[in-house]
Subunit: 349 residues, 2 copies
């Protein structure tokens, strides 16, 4: 429904793999000194001198992770990069390079690939990341993206999942649950479109939610902010599967418990009113919705005054003894054990 | 036709993604000091100190790159790793880590994943490479593997494609074309099996060819041999698409021409007799067959005596002035321009 009906179509097979790579990489600039040699040899060559290197990878598959009936290809390219950079930032590192592998069926013309790479290029430019390699091949069915992100950090700056201590404060950036609501809005519009293909999508009241779903931003700014404030988190993770699931990861890795306060969870007003409209509980959405790509981290109590009042950060709980368990403390002051209800692609089949 | 009919079937969705990752990675050991932290956080952490880093990635898709009716999953896992390591060795580097992303449909039971990872693990153990990350997800159709390999090298040891000089000798490791013939044999057996499902595959006379296709070895030994001989190639590439296509890559990157001598191209006797049986020209197969994963490189004439007589290496030609073009010099002493007829996945659709 968001597709251009007058699109030009150029066959990818006319270009061949090498022609295609040349064509789509020509607008990519190199931003990092660590990139000695990018695309064009058997492997990229990187030079980080004394820094440590961070490597993370994610696979996005049409029909499992995205639906092209409402995800514009440019946004998809952008988001696919964000998903990966987010993991580098979650280590308190700086993302520097990506490789992008794409499998695409011949139902996509070259112009579709150009759209996709325009999104990837936009993400690389905004986040100062270099495309240094990849693979491009045909697929028997849909579209598939596999991205590997590489980052750097001084050894002493890296934050793992396992450093949280009892009494540390649990902090989250931004707000939660909006991306999930954005998906619900888009799914609903898709159903409306199926019944009446001439209908125009009515997304005016949901712009923030839809943007959070289609074009999330990885929180590089938070890593920079923490550096500026001289606050080093004791543990950190990014929120891809939902707050609840990520808290459980931090607690298990760090061997601590946690109290998460329902009333503290940051929610956007548009998200709250959409929850009312869809008749779903906003806390449940924040806990299990996923795809927020915010950073969740713990800090020592001594750093509380430094981050207090910062509009990007919210203290939502504190770590407890492992034996106290991982609990949601509700508005009614009840302790409810947290459960991981994050998204599992294997459940969808 | 190579499947176990009494296979046990455990559903992957019962385990979930995290359970699956834990299950399949438990037999992987860490071999390299540069692996500070492997699987289990948002990103792997690597430490190469003063070395430069090599990064390469490849995508393998069922129905495009492999056919599970005759490719055992264990071999597929092994080969997928080899394809990537080969690119690191082609830079004259040492492969140290891989990430493995897999998309798999629910027609595969857990036991299939175990087979696949057994092959990956076997490759990691043989080549002293660490699995440090990945992604595992469901696919709507077939099986898909996306592997990124990371390697290290001293800056002064790295060999690019663009360093070949006029009069340098063109050298290839091993022999060529056997993998392509192995594929032809397997395709033929598949057709026989379709007609008579009780037939037993008759592969006795083709063991070398089939092994080259199903379980190729990346030439780490050649990189080590060259180091030992103190020969640094002036340019290097691995042969994945066929000798002709790779020579063209080296010549174009280095801005030189080339004379390749047909009579010098190393062929295995089994490959030659299979070519006779299939009535195809063995030189054509060596030039365009692909998937040999041998190393193709150029050396300065001064190094000729050092490599002469080494059974792993064959001098097959020499580099010429760019204006002389890239030529095959036939047994009849005719000069025929080389053309890239390597495999293009986009042609298959």
């Amino acid at each position: 429904m968001l597709q251009d009906k007058n699109e030009q179509r150029t066959s990818i097979s006319d270009l061949g793999e090498f022609g295609l790579i040349k064509h789509i990489t020509k607008y990519f600039k190199i931003h990092n000194e660590s990139t000695e040699k990018g695309v064009g040899d058997d492997a990229a060559v990187l030079n980080f001198e004394n820094k440590q290197i961070l490597v993370t990878t994610d696979l996005l598959i049409e029909g499992v992770h995205f639906d092209l009936s409402y995800v514009p290809l440019k946004h998809l390219g952008y988001k696919a990069v964000m998903v990966n950079l987010s993991d580098v930032y979650a280590m308190n590192g700086n993302a520097t390079q990506i490789t992008v592998s794409i499998a695409i069926s011949n139902r996509f013309p070259l112009e579709a690939m150009e759209e996709l790479y325009a999104g990837i290029q936009s993400a690389c430019a905004s986040y100062q990341v270099d495309l240094v390699g990849g693979d491009t091949t045909s697929s028997t069915t849909g579209l598939l993206l596999s991205i590997t992100a590489i980052g750097e950090a001084n050894a002493e700056d890296i934050v793992y999942r396992n450093g949280a201590k009892v009494d540390d404060l649990l902090v989250v950036s931004g707000d939660l649950g909006a991306s999930y609501l954005g998906l619900q809005v888009l799914e609903r519009e898709k159903e409306v479109f199926k019944v009446n293909p001439n209908s125009q999508p009515d997304l005016e009241n949901y712009t923030y939610l839809v943007e959070r779903q289609l074009k999330p931003e990885a929180r590089k700014d938070i890593v920079e902010l923490l550096k500026q404030l001289e606050v080093k988190p004791t543990s950190m993770i990014d929120i891809s599967d939902g707050l609840s699931s990520e808290i459980i990861h931090l607690c298990k890795a760090s061997e601590v418990g946690c109290n998460l306060y329902e009333e503290k969870i940051p929610l956007d007003p548009q998200m709250i009113s959409a929850c009312e409209e869809f008749e779903i509980n906003s806390t449940m959405v924040a806990l299990s919705g996923g795809e927020d790509y915010e950073l969740l981290f713990t800090i020592s109590q001594k750093d509380f005054l430094t981050i207090k009042g910062n509009t990007h950060l919210t203290v939502i709980g504190h770590m407890t003894d492992k034996n106290a368990g991982m609990n949601l403390v509700t508005r009614a002051n009840q302790h409810v054990p947290l459960t991981a209800q994050g998204w599992n692609s294997f459940d969808k089949e």
